[in-house]
């Protein structure tokens, strides 16, 4: 397999791989995320309260950090210098739909606070930051498609402050509760020295996601 030079996790409703190694699983759809949580994570009950977008981002991140062997709580300097920059095309549409169902019927109008809190796409970045105690920048960009050149550009820009030393970066998207896709990787300053090369690396990961 061609080396991408980046550690990465790819997952969708029926497929999971870590650095190109396929993870065996039984469930599909949202149940796959629960299976991965129970089999590989298991110490964060708040997972079950998350929307599908956050679950997918959370699980992909956990699998990636486990693969890299990064300690949960790094030094103060580290947690301040780790940013999160995610991309997706449908933002919080799935959570928006779920919430809308609770307010659709005027005779059965019970807005759900637990669903409402996920009606912003950047909540997934917050869930990941809280879990890992990261306090660096966090952003969620909505792109029509996984445009690797735009992604590489935004990632390079994120290093232009005086704090960011590394970025958890990825694509997270969910159109329905059982339909999602995500990839997650960690980008370091040296990776953005050549933005075209970074875009090419991201494209290889996206190819995995689409296969």
């Amino acid at each position: 397999m061609e080396s991408r030079g980046l550690d990465f996790v790819v997952l969708n409703q029926g497929f999971v791989s870590v650095n190109g190694r396929v993870l065996e699983h039984e469930a599909e759809g949202n149940a796959l995320l629960s299976e991965l949580y129970r089999g590989h994570i298991g110490d964060w009950p708040k997972f079950f309260k998350m929307d599908t977008l956050s679950k997918a981002g959370f699980v992909a991140t956990e699998l990636l950090l486990k693969e890299i062997g990064e300690p949960r709580c790094g030094s103060e300097e580290f947690i301040r210098s780790r940013a999160i920059v995610l991309f997706g095309s449908t933002a919080s549409l799935c959570a928006d739909r779920n919430y809308q169902e609770t307010i659709q019927d005027k005779d059965n109008y019970y807005p759900s606070p637990a669903l409402f809190v996920y009606t912003l796409p950047n909540i997934v970045t917050g869930e990941i930051a809280i879990r890992n105690h990261w306090r660096g920048e966090s952003s969620f960009y909505v792109l029509e498609t996984p445009d690797v050149e735009q992604m590489a550009f935004h990632l390079a820009c994120a290093f232009q402050d005086n704090d960011t030393e590394s970025i958890l970066a990825g694509w997270v998207d969910s159109t329905m509760n059982d339909d999602f896709q995500a990839f997650m990787t960690v980008i370091r300053k040296e990776d953005v020295a050549d933005v075209d090369r970074l875009a090419a690396q991201l494209q290889l990961i996206i190819n995995d996601l689409n296969n």
Partner: protein, 85 residues
């Protein structure tokens, strides 16, 4: 009352997505927030919605939730006395 307590536990587990919790795991006298089930402020709002939706109880002052949600026993007792459905 026992029937209401069991039903209430099942409803709480469902509405708060307490996936790995069974009704028998919830102590009737244990605090629901903090040490107990580890619920948070969003869960409290969700419990307020549950009481209105399932029991017709509209909590005018959300601050009262702190007392009402002290434990399953306290919550069930409040529902028994105030339910309209």
């Amino acid at each position: 009352m026992e029937e209401l307590i069991l039903k209430l536990k099942q409803e709480i587990i469902e509405v708060l997505n307490l996936e790995d919790v069974k009704p028998e795991d919830i102590d009737n006298d244990a605090p629901l927030f903090g040490e107990g089930l580890g619920l948070d402020s969003i869960d409290a709002l969700e419990l307020i919605v549950l009481m209105e939706k399932n029991y017709g109880i509209k909590l005018q002052d959300p601050a009262k939730g702190k007392e009402i949600f002290k434990s399953i026993n306290v919550m069930a007792d409040f529902i028994q006395k105030n339910r309209t459905r």
